[in-house]
C-alpha cells in the first residue's frame, strides 16, 4: 500500500512549511480517508457559503425584475456544480425569493416564469435568470463569481511501501534539498536564484536568509541543480555552468563562480561524478573518475548505482529515451524498459542491496514514482506506484542515502512541492 502525507496543503502565494513528522498515529489508509473527507467537507462548506452569496445576489435581481409576484422557477445546470449542490441552490433561491416577496409556485398557477441557468466560463461562475412575465419581453439578469483553480487529487497502493512526506511547497522552483539531521533539524533548499536555509522549529520549517546566486547568462529551460553536504564546509551547490561553495564558518555565506566542474552522482566523498552540459538539462556522458574502465557513457539525465559484490551496476536514463546499464566493462541498453528521465538510488535497511526509484514514462498525469530492484540485469518492481500530484521536476538521492528528494509541480496550485520519499518494509 502506498501513502502520501499531504500535510497542510494551501494555495497561498507565500511558501508553505509542513511538518515532516513521518510517524502516523492512524494507519496510513485511515489517515488518508480522514484527510479526504475533511478536505471534501471543507470545500463543500466553502462553496456553500459562496453559493448562498451568489444566490442572494441573483434573487434580489430577479425580485427587482418581477416585483412581488408568483412565478415558476426552473433551474438548469450547464456548469461543473454537482447535482446535490444544485438542489441546495434551488432551495436557497426559492427561500430568498420568498423573502423578497416572490413566491415560487407550480407553472400552471404562476403568473410568470424564471429560468435560472447555472453556467460558467473559464474565469467565472455565471448564473443567468431569464424572466418572463405575461406578454412582456424576456428580460435577462445575471450574477457572476470567480471560479477557483481546479482541484483534483490522486492516490494509489508488494513487499515495500513507498511513503512521501512533504517538506516544502512554494511557487518558486525547488531544484534540490539537503536535509541536515540534528537538533534542530535543518535543510538547505536550492532554487534557481538562491540557496535558502531552513530550521525545523515548533513543527514548522522556518526559512532563514536566502543566499543569492547571481547568473551571468540566462538559465536553461528545465533547470536542474544539485546540493550536496560536505565535511569541510556545509555544502556545494551545482547549477548548469556554475558551482557555489558555502563558507565553513558562521555566518553562513556562499561564493559562486562559472564552472564546468562535474556534479557528484553519489553522495559519498570520492564518488563518481559526471559533467553537466552548461546550457542544457542533461549530463554529457563524460565521467570522473569513471565507472570501472568506462570513462564515458551516452548523454543521460539521471544515474543510479546498484552495488554488487565486486562492482557497481549503474543505471542511466539516456537522453535517447533508453535505459543504459554500465558495469565498469560493458554497456547494455534495455530497449524494452520505458522509465521516465529521473532515477535515485536508495537503500532500505530491511532489504539486501539497493533500490532504484524511477519516475514513470507514460503519458498519463499525474507522474508516479516506483521502487525497483535489479536481481540481475532486469528491473523488478518492489513497490507499487506512488502518485505525485503533478509532473516530477527533480528526483535525487538524499544525503543519508536512505531517502530520496522528489520535487513535482503540483497540478492543483502550480506550486513546486518537495517530498522526502522513503521505503518502508512489511506494511
Amino acid at each position: 500500500m502506498l501513502t502520501r502525507n499531504p500535510t497542510n496543503h494551501q494555495t497561498d502565494a507565500t511558501a508553505i512549511y509542513n511538518s515532516p513528522n513521518p510517524r502516523m498515529h492512524l494507519p496510513s489508509r485511515a489517515r488518508l480517508v480522514c484527510c479526504v473527507i475533511a478536505l471534501l467537507a471543507f470545500v463543500s462548506i466553502a462553496h456553500a457559503a459562496d453559493w448562498r452569496q451568489l444566490a442572494a445576489q441573483l434573487s434580489s435581481k430577479i425580485a427587482a425584475a418581477t416585483g412581488p409576484d408568483v412565478i415558476a422557477l426552473d433551474i438548469a445546470n450547464r456548469s461543473s456544480i454537482s447535482a446535490a449542490e444544485v438542489e441546495n441552490i434551488r432551495r436557497n433561491l426559492a427561500d430568498m425569493l420568498a423573502n423578497s416577496g416572490v413566491r415560487v409556485w407550480q407553472p400552471e398557477q404562476a403568473a410568470g416564469s424564471v429560468k435560472v441557468t447555472l453556467s460558467e466560463s473559464l474565469q467565472n461562475y455565471v448564473w443567468v435568470a431569464e424572466v418572463r412575465q405575461g406578454t412582456n419581453e424576456l428580460s435577462v439578469v445575471m450574477v457572476s463569481m470567480p471560479r477557483p483553480e481546479s482541484t483534483t487529487s490522486a492516490q494509489n497502493s508488494l513487499p515495500l511501501t513507498l511513503h512521501a512526506t512533504t517538506l516544502l511547497s512554494q511557487p518558486d522552483p525547488i531544484l534540490d534539498i539537503a536535509v541536515i539531521e540534528g537538533s534542530p533539524r535543518r535543510m538547505m533548499v536550492l532554487g534557481g536564484n538562491s540557496v535558502t536555509p531552513y530550521e525545523f522549529r515548533d513543527g514548522h520549517w522556518l526559512p532563514g536568509q536566502p543566499l543569492a546566486i547571481n547568473h551571468a547568462r540566462p538559465l536553461p529551460r528545465d533547470l536542474r541543480g544539485r546540493i550536496v553536504l560536505r565535511k569541510d564546509h556545509l555544502f556545494d551547490a551545482y547549477l548548469p555552468g556554475q558551482v557555489c561553495h558555502s563558507t565553513n564558518a558562521a555566518p553562513l555565506g556562499m561564493t559562486c563562480a562559472g564552472s564546468d566542474d562535474p556534479w557528484p552522482l553519489q553522495v559519498e566523498d570520492s564518488a563518481v561524478s559526471a559533467f553537466f552540459a552548461p546550457a542544457r538539462n542533461f549530463f554529457t556522458g563524460a565521467l570522473v573518475p569513471g565507472i570501472g574502465q568506462q570513462k564515458s557513457a551516452p548523454s543521460f539525465y539521471s544515474a543510479a548505482a546498484v552495488p554488487r559484490d565486486k562492482y557497481a551496476l549503474w543505471v542511466l536514463t539516456g537522453v535517447d529515451g533508453q535505459l543504459h546499464l554500465l558495469d565498469g566493462i560493458n554497456q547494455q541498453t534495455l530497449t524494452k524498459i520505458r522509465w521516465g528521465s529521473d532515477l535515485a538510488a536508495i537503500h532500505v535497511l530491511c532489504r539486501v542491496g539497493s533500490q532504484v526509484l524511477a519516475s514513470s514514462a507514460g503519458n498519463d498525469s499525474p507522474d508516479t514514482v516506483q521502487a525497483f530492484e535489479f536481481p540481475d540485469r532486469e528491473p523488478v518492481a518492489v513497490s507499487q506506484k506512488l502518485e505525485l500530484n503533478g509532473n516530477v521536476t527533480a528526483l535525487w538521492t538524499a544525503q543519508n542515502g536512505q531517502n530520496a528528494i522528489a520535487v513535482f509541480r503540483d497540478a492543483d496550485n502550480e506550486n513546486y512541492e518537495a517530498d522526502l520519499l522513503n521505503l518502508a518494509c512489511g506494511q
Binding site: 450574477v143 511557487p171 518558486d172 540566462p218 538559465l219 529551460r221 507522474d367 509532473n391
Partner: protein, 458 residues
Amino acid sequence: MQTTKTMKQTCSILLAASSLLWSATAVAAARPRYGGTLRLAVKETPATFDPATLATAGPAGLSRLVFETLTTLDERGRPQPGLAVSWQVEPGNQRWRVLLRNGVSFHDGAILDANAVGASLRASNPNWKIVASADTVIIETDTAEPGLPAELALDRNSIFRRAGGKIGGTGPFSIAQWDSGKRLTLKANDQYWAGRPFLDSIEIDFGKDYREQATLLDLAKADVIEIAPENIHRAQAEGRTVINSEPSKLMALAFAGGPTSEDEAHARAALTMSIDTTAINNVVLQGGGVPAGALLPNWETGYAFTFPVGGSTEIAHQERAQSRRLTSWTLGYDASDSISRVIAERILLNARDAGITLQLASSGATDLRLLRISLPSAEPHVALTELSKALQLPGPKFSSSSVAALYSAEASLLQTHRIIPLVHVRSAVALRANVHDWITFPNGEWRIENVWLAPEKP
C-alpha cells in the same frame, strides 16, 4: 497611485516552464530533450512576417515565437507578466505605468528599453500617449481602459525593432529565413531571457491545403498539421494524436452596413432565425463546432446560451411577415474554401424557405459575406472589442468590468442586425508521436515555445 496588479518577481524559468495547459500532449516524467527541428504545415499564406499583419494572417500564436508582448494571457484569459514585470494604474484607468523586465535583448543584440517599447506601441496605437523613461513606460489613453493589460497581450502590440532592413523581436526564436507566403524558418534564440527553447529550429510550410498536410504527416515530412473542424472526429478515429481548442473561431454572416428601415431589420431577423445552424454544425461541419447565437462563445462568457440560435422556421416567418417588402441580397463567400461554399448554399436554401432570396457570389461587392474570424483574445472584453473592429461594428461600451456589463455590450452589438453568428468552430492540430508539450489554448492559440521532440522509437 492605485496598484491593480503587481507581479511577483519569479525567476524566468518559472514562466518558461509554465504548465498552464488547456490541450497539450501530456508528458509524464520524461525530461524535455534539447535539439531537433519541428516541421509545421499550415493552410494560411501570410504575405509578410510583420507583427502588425501576421496577427490576422498566420496561425494564432505563431508570431509570439519571435515577437513578444508586454503581457501575456494565461489559459483563463488573465494577464500575466511578459516583457513587463508589473503594471500600475492611476484612478480613472487612463494612465498606466508599466515596469519593463531587465536583461532582455532583441535578436540583433540591442537591449530592450523603454524607447524601443514606446516606438512599437506608438506604431500600433496612434491614439495612445506614450512616455518612455528608463525601465518604465507610461501609457495614457483618451478613455478609461481598465482592460489595458489584456489588450497589451494582443499580437498587434508586439514589441519589435527594425534595423538594417530587418525586423526582429525578443522571442525564443529568431527569423532565419522568410520565403514570403511559402516558408518560414526560425532558429532558437540562445540568449532568450526565459531560457533557450528546447528545439533548435522550426520550419513552417505555408499554403498547404488539408489534404496535402495529411500526406506530409503520413510521410513523416511534417510533425504537426492542421485538421479541419469537419475532420476532427475522423482524424481521431484514424488514431491520429489530435489536439483541439474550444469552439472559438466564429463563422458568421456580416452585412456591409446597418438596416436602412424597420422592414429591413425584420428581414435580417428573419434571415437570422431561418438558418439551421444546428444542421450546419452537425452535417457540414461534422460536429466540429457548436451553433452560435452570440459573438463570443459560451466557454468565454458563460451567458452565450441566452442568445437564440437560428433554425426556427416559425419565428423566421413571423419576422418575415413584419417586413412588407420583398428582400433579395447577394451573399459573398470565400471561393477557395469548399466548406464555405457548402454552408453558403445551405443558407440560401434556408433563407428561401423563409421567403428571402439570396444570390451567391464568390467575388465582388456583396450585401453580406460569410466570414470565419478567430477569437482575438482569451479575455472576453478585449475579444469583443477586437471582434467589433474586425467586423466594422460600433465599439462596445462597457459600463463596468462585470459579466452583466459584457452581456449588455454584446447584446447591443447583436441588436444592430449587422452580424449573424452561425457557428463557433474548433481549431485542431494533429501531431506525430514524438512531439511533446504542444499546447493549444481554449481560444485556439498555439503556445509552442516549450515543445520538444523525443527520440524516434527504434
